[in-house]
């Protein structure tokens, strides 16, 4: 059987994910953030770097056994994986945001036009949220910078992922409502988790202890 394959999300979570793995004794010296090698031998564990949204796919389909990935990615992709440990870092929130004072106008528009336009990079999270709240919206999917949408008249509201809220403020937007909060998770492919529990359990135990001690 191949060594346990551990997928890591490139981007904001990578440094802290590497720190966590280093702390529990995984050799991550071969990984260079921004480097070109994407599959790295880490002793008993093989490390794979990938885009955050692909990580969920890797783990769901069993191409990787374990991964550290944000809950935001799991919520958006709906990937069927096992969430084992809340690692606590990488905190952010899915929010509905709009320019301040737009509420009055939005409600008027909703009455007359029957729907609101919501721009987002996260159409699944946005759609689920507004359906649960029974609000009719048109989701406009954008590939980046949803916060510009209300400024240029692309949409009334946005659904976005925020950590500090600075970007929203800089674009004159305010949080209307919080949808869900997110932190980094240790996740596993379900079949691999059951089949290779003996190898995975110590990783879970050490990462849980590491997360609890922070």
């Amino acid at each position: 059987m191949r060594p346990l394959r551990f997928a890591l999300a490139q981007g904001l979570l990578l440094n802290e994910a590497l720190a966590a793995l280093r702390a529990i004794g995984v050799d991550v010296s071969g990984v260079t953030p921004g480097g070109r090698r994407l599959v790295v031998d880490g002793g008993d564990i093989e490390l794979v770097l990938a885009r955050p949204s692909d990580i969920a796919t890797y783990v769901e389909r069993g191409a990787a056994d374990l991964a550290i990935v944000g809950k935001d990615v799991l919520l958006e992709t709906g990937a069927r994986v096992m969430e084992l440990v809340d690692l606590g870092f990488g905190a952010c929130r899915f929010v509905v945001a709009a320019p301040p004072g737009v509420m009055e106008r939005s409600l008027d528009e909703y009455r007359h036009l029957g729907t609101l336009e919501v721009a987002t990079k996260y159409p699944n999270v946005a759609e689920r949220h507004f359906r649960a709240r029974d609000i009719a919206v048109e989701i406009v999917k954008v590939a980046g910078s949803a916060e510009v949408a209300p400024l240029v008249g692309l949409a009334d509201w946005i659904v976005d992922l925020v950590a500090t809220g600075n970007t929203l403020r800089a674009n004159g937007l305010a949080v209307v409502e919080e949808i869900a909060s997110s932190t980094a998770r240790l996740v596993a492919n379900p079949a691999a988790y059951h089949l290779r529990r003996r190898e995975i359990a110590p990783v879970v135990e050490r990462l849980a202890a590491w997360a609890a001690a922070r």
Binding site: M1, T57, R61, G62, G78, R80, V81, M82, E83, L84, V85, D86, R185, L186, N189, P190, A191, Y193, H194, L195, R197, R198, A201, P202, V204, E205, A208
Partner: protein, 390 residues
């Protein structure tokens, strides 16, 4: 409809061509024999069942029937069997042993590589209760896989129990416990444990639950865990197999399907993932009439095939096929073919381009009793079958 969509099946569906179909046929035949050897009788529920409003959540493929009612391609067979037992066997209180080999259909998001048609082979034991029934069905699953040629190792079969999982959170109120188990069904152990902590579960019990769900397998204690081990031991007595200790007790095994009430199990292969799953569902038939205890399993035949293929399995060889080249005398050609068949040969007139891995022998008709083989030898048509077999 553009030309491309006319020559390809819809997303998530595919053609199964002869090489694969032959191998699947061998697996299906073996499974049908194993099921019959334990007294299970095949039945065929319909392809369509009535649909439901929450189809997105349950991943059903649904559409409107011509009379306007909402119908669904059956998403699993256990529910169909429960429905028909609740109706057609309403007055029969004895034990039923039913089996099926049939496709089920599930919605999968586009571009995810997921198949929407799944071939299932399974059994349902209705009216059977207690550790013996649990162990018998668990053993039958392992026997089914083993007789198809799957090597069974210690961790191939994982066994959990919904009661055991529920019992780990006995300190919580019913509502909180329901939320925790619901999170576990979705694979969210971290979320389930957090919910339990927020609901005021004592720390030592929380730790015990955490150990059972994320610790090394079998790391469980208490009466329910002992009972689980006893069922596995009983099942090993029924199907000793060739590994001494198959079956791993696993509290973290909480299937997504909501109807399980007791023992649950999965067979897992390192390359193919989950190839079979099952468990006890004592309340499901009650939804269609009188409640009856029931337990069953379903094998994903295509995943089993994938696992067998990964382990270098190939189906046993078929008898070779004789490709018979006709002579100018058409009547003599047909009589010669008849003589070959009577002698036990498999015969096709002309050529076959798609041989699906089957060995062929070529021969030419001489007259109604004799053929000339490719090496120039002349053989008696009626005797050739016996000659090839020996």
């Amino acid at each position: 409809m553009n030309q491309q969509s006319a020559i390809r099946p819809p997303r998530g569906f595919r053609d199964i061509l002869p090489t694969e179909a032959r191998e699947l046929g061998v697996i299906e035949q073996t499974l049908a024999e194993v099921f019959a050897d334990s007294g299970f009788t095949p039945l065929h529920p319909p392809l369509l069942e009535y649909g439901a409003a929450d189809s997105a959540k349950r991943r059903r493929i649904q559409f409107l029937d011509s009379d306007g009612s909402l119908v669904a391609l059956r998403p699993d067979l256990t529910t169909s069997v429960a429905r028909l037992v609740g109706g057609r066997y309403r007055d029969m209180t004895g034990v039923l042993r039913l089996s099926y080999i049939a496709p089920v259909f599930r919605e999968e998001p586009a571009m995810s590589g997921g198949s929407r048609e799944v071939l299932q082979a399974g059994v349902e034991l209705i009216g059977g209760d207690g550790a013996l029934a649990d162990a018998e069905i668990l053993a039958l699953l392992v026997e089914s896989l083993a007789r198809c040629g799957l090597p069974i190792c210690e961790s191939t079969v994982q066994v959990g129990n919904i009661q055991l999982v529920s019992g780990l959170f006995a300190a919580l109120t019913e509502a909180a416990r329901f939320e925790v188990v619901d999170a576990l069904r979705q694979g969210d152990i971290a979320g389930g444990l957090r919910r339990a902590r927020e609901a005021g579960m004592p720390l030592d019990e929380l730790e015990r639950a955490g150990r059972a769900l994320t610790g090394v397998e079998g790391d469980t204690d208490g009466a329910e865990a002992r009972e689980l081990c006893r069922v596995i031991e009983l099942a090993r007595e029924r199907w000793p197999g060739n590994v001494e200790r198959w079956g791993v007790p696993n509290a973290a095994l909480v299937p997504a399907l909501p109807y399980y009430t007791g023992i649950v199990f999965e067979a897992i292969h390192p390359d193919a993932g989950v190839i079979a799953s099952g468990g006890r569902y004592d309340l499901l038939i009650g939804a269609f009439g009188t409640p009856r205890p029931a337990i069953g399993f379903a094998i994903d035949v295509l995943q089993l095939h994938r696992a067998l293929f990964a382990d270098a399995w190939r189906p046993r060889r078929q008898r070779p096929l004789l490709l018979l080249r006709a002579s100018a005398d058409e009547r003599a050609t047909m009589r010669c073919a008849a003589a070959l068949s009577a002698g036990g040969m498999a015969v096709a007139l002309g050529d076959v381009a798609e041989r699906a891995g089957r060995a062929v022998i070529e021969a030419e008709v001489i007259d109604e009793r004799r053929v000339k083989l490719a090496d120039g030898r002349v053989a008696e048509a009626r005797a050739l079958g016996a000659e090839i077999d020996s």
